[in-house]
Symmetry: D2
Subunit: 339 residues, 4 copies
């Protein structure tokens, strides 16, 4: 049983089929001038109910780094949670792409950023020539702890960002899971709440390799386009990432898959009962099992990551779009047996 990560899953059949079909076309213009790539702006503008610009890249790390580098100066600081992917899991990609900007770290439960915590970070910044300039706020939706920000929470942060003239970026590696959980319009937790830039991830939720930077503010577009090129993320055969995204969005496939994963994760949360570290809101489940519990899971052949501090006895279980129901059932049994 594999609950290691949703990035270990295969590609959804609808998305693979779209690739196969696009391949049947003979030649197509390179570097995003193909007919599919040219549909992306319009398609995502529909989804987000406003005019957006879309830039596909090969990974979520690339999306985050290029988006943020296009929005902050090298002497900027980016406010984010201490557990944010850009801080913990990208080996300094943002620092590289920005030419040495800093991340200003914020604490908080559920890996969530609160307005109060942001105010604390403002107070810690020297505010003079010797200190980096607070220039952007980046949150993850859903967070690295599977938590979500509702529209009001995003809007509160967006207001703060607007007040300070920061760029407001959302790392949406699991954006589909968040939208599915919230049942809101994608617009409600992005531009309507003050978000300027979104890393729109599809890979974890069923694509082969399709991530995109969605720019709600066109002033960032030129920089994103140039940084994508220089980062080696402007693919010559642009049709393939494009058709993945088009298929992902078609007939609500992305939300259908996300809802399923969320629901299965929720059922694991129920089974975990009091051992749950944080409420399950999307497709990630954090459970405090203790050393014995961890060992028992390993004996049962489950694949997963231990989480938090080393030896904490906490585990993360991620439900993928393709997770088999009997695996979830078996895991429920295992979790129940650990009470």
């Amino acid at each position: 049983m594999n609950f290691r990560s949703d990035n270990t899953a295969a590609t959804a059949p609808e998305i693979l089929q779209a690739i196969v079909e696009a391949n049947a076309a003979d030649t197509s213009r390179a570097y995003g001038e193909d007919n599919w790539s040219k549909q992306l702006d319009a398609r995502l503008s529909e989804v987000f109910e406003c005019q957006v610009r879309v830039f596909t890249v090969a990974s979520g790390t690339a999306a985050n780094a290029i988006a943020l580098a296009s929005a902050v100066p090298p002497w900027g600081a980016i406010l984010c949670h201490r557990e944010a992917h850009i801080e913990r899991d990208e080996c300094g990609a943002v620092e590289f792409a920005t030419g040495g900007a800093k991340l200003a770290l914020i604490e908080g439960g559920g890996a969530k950023v609160t307005a109060a915590a942001v105010e604390g970070a403002i107070a810690r910044n020297g505010g003079d020539i010797h200190s980096p300039v607070l220039s952007a706020l980046s949150i993850s939706q859903a967070t690295e702890r599977g938590a979500i920000y509702d529209p009001d929470e995003v809007a509160a942060l967006g207001a703060l960002a607007g007040k300070h003239k920061w760029a407001f970026h959302v790392d949406g590696a699991r954006f589909g899971n968040a939208v599915a959980a919230l049942g809101c319009s994608p617009a409600d937790i992005t531009w309507r709440a003050g978000v300027n830039l979104l890393s729109f991830g599809a890979t974890k939720n069923g694509a082969l390799a399709a991530e995109a930077i969605v720019a709600f503010d066109s002033r960032f577009a030129d920089a994103i386009e140039r940084r994508r090129k220089r980062g080696g993320h402007l693919l010559c055969k642009g049709r393939y990432p494009a058709v993945q995204l088009l298929a992902y969005l078609k007939d609500g496939l992305w939300l259908k898959m996300a809802r399923r994963a969320n629901a299965l994760a929720g059922s694991l949360g129920e089974a975990a009962g009091e051992r749950l570290s944080t409420p399950v809101q999307t497709n990630q489940v954090f459970v405090k099992l203790g050393d014995a519990g961890v060992a028992k899971l390993r004996e049962a052949g489950v694949e997963f990551y231990e989480w938090g501090a080393r030896g904490s006895g906490e585990v993360r279980l991620v439900v993928a779009w393709s997770q088999r129901e009997d695996d979830v059932e078996a895991m429920r049994g295992l979790l129940a047996s650990l009470h």
Copy 2:
């Protein structure tokens, strides 16, 4: 008829099939720890007849930039031809990845670098603290003019690189076409001739999106791995680039496709006759048509790039792995009609 570039072609059926098959597997470890990715070092070590390390990336630009940045210091200069892809077509990707290294440009027919031209560049370098340190030599195989370096030519450059302790890099966006044309072992024009790093391109010759840095010298491996991660080129679903490369190499598919494209290009060269700018050695054909000839091609609905200086009346015709023979036949007729 599309002779614009081999990067406008679709994916070869064998390679697409490999993707479909890999998708049938349920989960697989992320970030290159899957079973296919783990075969790459061994498989390419066979192809190159020596122990190599392989790092897949999303584009040839990424391969070039990450390879070179892993081999030269920020104060280094990279010797390359003025028409090299890294100079003309990557929007400064190498400069970005290296933290500001310089390209030291070399002139020469067929976009080829000669040892004599390299000596000239050495003489132009100040050789003191005020000048960048010549640190690498990068050639394209085949070149941006479709020319190839035979093993002796590569070895002569390799000896020069070795003497000066430069890293020796080959941009192999069309490496398959070069090997097919030379009929040599891939080893003969790489490590046996002093090459340390190869950007091994498969996309132009039939892959969906599969490029790899092949390191013949393990001392570069750690830097490549880290730079790939920070550049957003370590894909989570690593199985997909891996199976593309495995299929590309299986049963000599890569050389079969390259030979076909080369042969068809050669037949265009014959048809072009005296109008040919340079002898056709691989799958690119450069023809001096004059303004009238260019116009005639456009009228005939041919897609292609004008080349060289603006208004030069020179065109580039690239034959893709998938080029239809009747298109080639038609183009032969067109070229013949321009005599």
Copy 3:
């Protein structure tokens, strides 16, 4: 009365005189090839009792950033205290110079780094491809809280750095004050204790503008030299920084001035009594005065910085090499009156 910082002081007469004398010479070779610059390696090798390489730069920020960038890869992390100058006061100079390395922050009293705290930071590092590679340890001697590391403490950290193959760097903006306080050989708290690189500051302790990177390990020398040049810190008229350092070191001037400042600071510490935040070890005095005390100092016309969190009521008083004794006496009276 000015207790704001030792960097507000003028230049010591002996050092200014050395500049005037060097000016009497007509021409001298540029870019460090002059006769004074060429003495620096030998002179500091005497001071440090081992063969060193010396690189003058225009500021302490430049010394820190160039030294560290020469010792860590862009994907490296540098362990340092949260209150370190490189973290709090250089606007991301290290991040810029390194091409985006990260600072891994450590907590601890007196702005000191302990081996135990370093072990904690090691445990927090993921240790995989997704995490920056711990590559250097940087401490300040004296610290930003005026504390010092004795030879054993430095050696303990040096052993840790050696074990993990990290570069060990000391920010010695107030190195003279530390050596004066410890009464040890400069060697005892540098190379004998495992230090590889020192930012040797003279400006705060009486120079006009003279900072130097002292490399105890010659493997860093080439990178430092190149990075200094590219950073615009290789001055053409190299005689002037050189003679400042030579005069600074002549007949123990540097230690004489540092001892005086330390002693005066110590007498302030006595006057502060229980209000002292931390014991006075060098020329910085941290006192908890409360809002009323702060206001009283301001009314008395004292210049100083408030320290710590905003509104903490804590102040920093720095005694410069040139501090007038009657100012110190007056300040003692003020501090005593606040009990």
Copy 4:
């Protein structure tokens, strides 16, 4: 006899005296908040007859790199002459500071950039996503061949820069020599002619170490200030560079010294007669002596640089502000003897 470079000269007595006087003041605010630094904007605004912002840095390389990095994006290209200091003598400082921008090189006699040559460079730029974006034009006044641009020539380039929305930068390492030779207002060859940024050099013409970025366009000011800080060029004891510049400009000292050097260089030019490579316009003299002539100069104990291609038999003689007249006389004799 030393005709190697004006950067081998000492400091003018008036400037040294200003340093000595500034030292008599006790303390002064750090980081440019001192009373002298605060006069710089106003003083240079007078000199340039418009409101300017002034940023002192430690070297001309720093001035050029920081100015240009503040005006072009990382994906920009800076048009400059192939012999420009930023291309040939700064070891890639601009590439480092910009995060990897490119220099687009222009040919032309006297190391001068002409509008026609710039048009050629525009034609060579691809103008698409694969090519760097032409973003700035940088010229040297006087050039590396001692030539000057008159106001009309600068204005023609300024018009071109304006048309293409490029930043227009002047490397004024020998700006005083140019103004002295032209007899114009400094305004005539800067902002009135479309210049946005000037590296205003004083060191070669008599300062100890004083270079400044003069911004005629305030939109660059914030970036310059931040980049100066991060580059370690915001000195704590700011009074010293400030008083150098104030003394340099006082009562026309800078022009007096430059006129003298220019005149002496002119007399060398007369003595060189037909062997002169280019007309002498400022304080640099380029003479084709042939191998025998070069040897004869060396035998006579003259210090100088050979110039141009190796073994070209061409030499550069630079007259410093402090050059002794008898040395010039002796050199005139030597040059005359070589006819």
